[in-house]
């Protein structure tokens, strides 16, 4: 098995009070992990900690990705530049490297256009993001990560509010990243989505993270139903 790209060791996350404690898990390339659990239990805090935006309360985590562009992050409010165009937003993902040559600039343009086409928003490329619908904005945020090609993608409820067709478009794009070795950690509210796309489930219960393979999770769910 390949080396892990993220390992959490005795990690406790939270702001003043710990929300999730003593997390010990590893993440490997190509995995899709869905974090499930009730609202306010610390799912967002966990991925904000991994993304470096919140300091861990105790313990540590090791992120073995490139410093620039190795981590893709889609926050709950998507993190788009609302007054800029769709193309500008998507190209941000490909701007993580310093461009020294015309070839690098061309490559950025190509990556941007490829991502726009894949998410079906190429015809909207010159429109300001704020004019798009919520579903289209989610596609822009996903295209940004696609253009970035990160080693680890963190997404906070980015499938929420999407209709079935949009979920499929977005997830097809995520799948291309995964096929190239990107690991995905996403906070999910809908267990159905998690079961459709994830390979692993992190279930947050009380202040503990329970790590399941999809098979274990499905068996547990069925077991629960039978009880």
């Amino acid at each position: 098995m390949a080396d892990s790209i993220l390992s959490l060791k005795n990690l406790s996350v939270g702001y003043d009070e710990p929300l999730i404690t003593n997390i010990n898990v590893e993440v490997f390339p190509g995995e899709i992990i869905a974090i499930l659990g009730p609202s306010g239990i610390g799912k967002t805090t966990l991925i904000r900690t991994i993304s470096g935006l919140v300091r861990p309360l105790s313990g540590s985590f090791e992120l073995k990705v490139e410093k620039r562009g190795g981590l893709g992050y889609i926050p709950q409010r998507l993190g788009l530049v609302r007054h800029a165009t769709v193309a500008h937003n998507v190209s941000l993902g490909a701007r993580t490297r310093i461009e020294f040559s015309l070839n690098m600039w061309k490559e950025r343009s190509e990556r941007t256009m490829d991502a726009l086409r894949m998410l079906g928003i190429a015809e909207k490329s010159n429109e300001p993001v704020r004019r798009l619908s919520g579903g289209q904005q989610r596609r822009v945020a996903t295209a940004r990560t696609l253009a970035q090609k990160p080693q680890l993608m963190l997404a906070d409820e980015f499938l929420g509010e999407l209709d079935h067709s949009n979920v499929e478009i977005v997830f097809k794009a995520v799948q291309t990243l995964v096929e190239n070795g990107t690991a995905v950690i996403m906070v999910e509210h809908h267990e159905d989505n998690a079961q459709l796309f994830a390979t692993r489930i992190w279930n947050i219960k009380d202040d503990t993270l329970e790590d399941f393979s999809l098979e274990q999770w499905n068996n547990r769910s069925h077991g629960g139903e039978e009880e």
Binding site: G52, R82, H83, P150
Partner: protein, 287 residues
């Protein structure tokens, strides 16, 4: 709620009145005859305005076909507008640099605080004092005016800009930081585009402000129409001063309308649109 508001206004007015009374040591007699003095001064010294300020000067000889272009009013006003234009552009760029180092959501506190102190210091000297300093350092003329107003613009716009940056939604900053964008890239590709509407509005306001203040700094020899005002004041030619003041008023109103027009191309949401004639008079919000 309404009574509370009246009570607050009453208390504030009472405090202001009391403070003023303290300042003038209760000598309200000074106001007696004030209006009479003003009307005598206005009717005997300032009225009618002497419009010869819009005619060609006797020296140097006018080479233009249109006399107005060789007049004191036109030459002085154009110099003031040019000084304000250059100072606003230079000041705006300088302010962007400093404000990006002063916004607490963009840089650590140990960088933001010294830069804020620097901006406060620059702002605490009015452009008139900057003009006096530069006239002492580099002599009379428009360059002193440009430098004076550039410094003041950096201090003033810098504050407006960093407060705008601090008010922006945090999610786009967090996403770009997590993605590993450099600080300069975040500023150029996230912060400035997201706040472009406000920045444009502030830029236009500052230009208008600099034109108004450009007339004042000329009085201390930093170029522009203020130089001529100061000269006419020295020679007690108040009717010429009055004509120049009317000219300044007209130019400021025109710039104000132009500023509204430019801003009306961009609506609250930042969409570019075609302004209507009404936008020349009313700001978009008032429609």
């Amino acid at each position: 709620m309404k009574y509370r508001l009246f009570a607050i206004i009453f208390i504030l007015l009472f405090l202001a009145w009391n403070t003023l009374n303290g300042l003038i040591e209760g000598d309200w007699g000074r106001l007696e005859g004030g209006f009479e003095n003003l009307s005598v001064f206005f009717s005997e010294s300032m009225w009618p305005p002497n419009w010869s300020v819009l005619e060609a000067r006797s020296y140097p000889v006018c080479e233009s076909d249109i006399e107005f272009f060789c007049s004191v009013g036109y030459i002085g006003m154009m110099e003031t507008i040019k000084i304000a234009f250059v100072a606003t552009i230079l000041g705006f760029i300088g302010a962007l640099f400093f404000s990006s180092l002063a916004a607490r959501n963009l840089v650590p506190l140990y960088v933001a605080i010294p830069v804020r102190i620097l901006l406060s210091a620059t702002r605490s000297l009015p452009s008139l004092i900057w003009a006096i300093l530069f006239v002492i350092v580099i002599g009379f003329g428009p360059l002193s005016g440009v430098l004076a107003m550039t410094f003041y613009t950096v201090g003033y716009l810098g504050k407006l800009q960093y407060e705008t940056f601090e008010g922006m939604a945090n999610d786009s900053l967090e996403a770009s930081r997590a993605m590993g964008l450099s600080r300069s890239s975040i500023l150029l590709n996230v912060v400035i585009p997201e706040n472009s509407n406000h920045l444009l509005s502030q830029l236009m306001f500052m230009f208008e402000y600099n034109v108004r203040h450009g007339t004042v700094i000329g009085i201390v020899g930093a170029g522009g129409i203020g130089y001529y005002i100061s000269t006419y004041l020295k020679f007690l030619q108040y009717e010429k001063v009055f004509a120049l003041l009317i000219l300044i008023f007209v130019v400021v109103v025109i710039i104000d309308l132009l500023s509204m027009m430019v801003r009306s191309f961009v609506n609250d949401e930042g969409d570019v649109r075609r302004p209507t004639w009404l936008n020349f008079i009313l700001s978009p919000k008032d429609e």
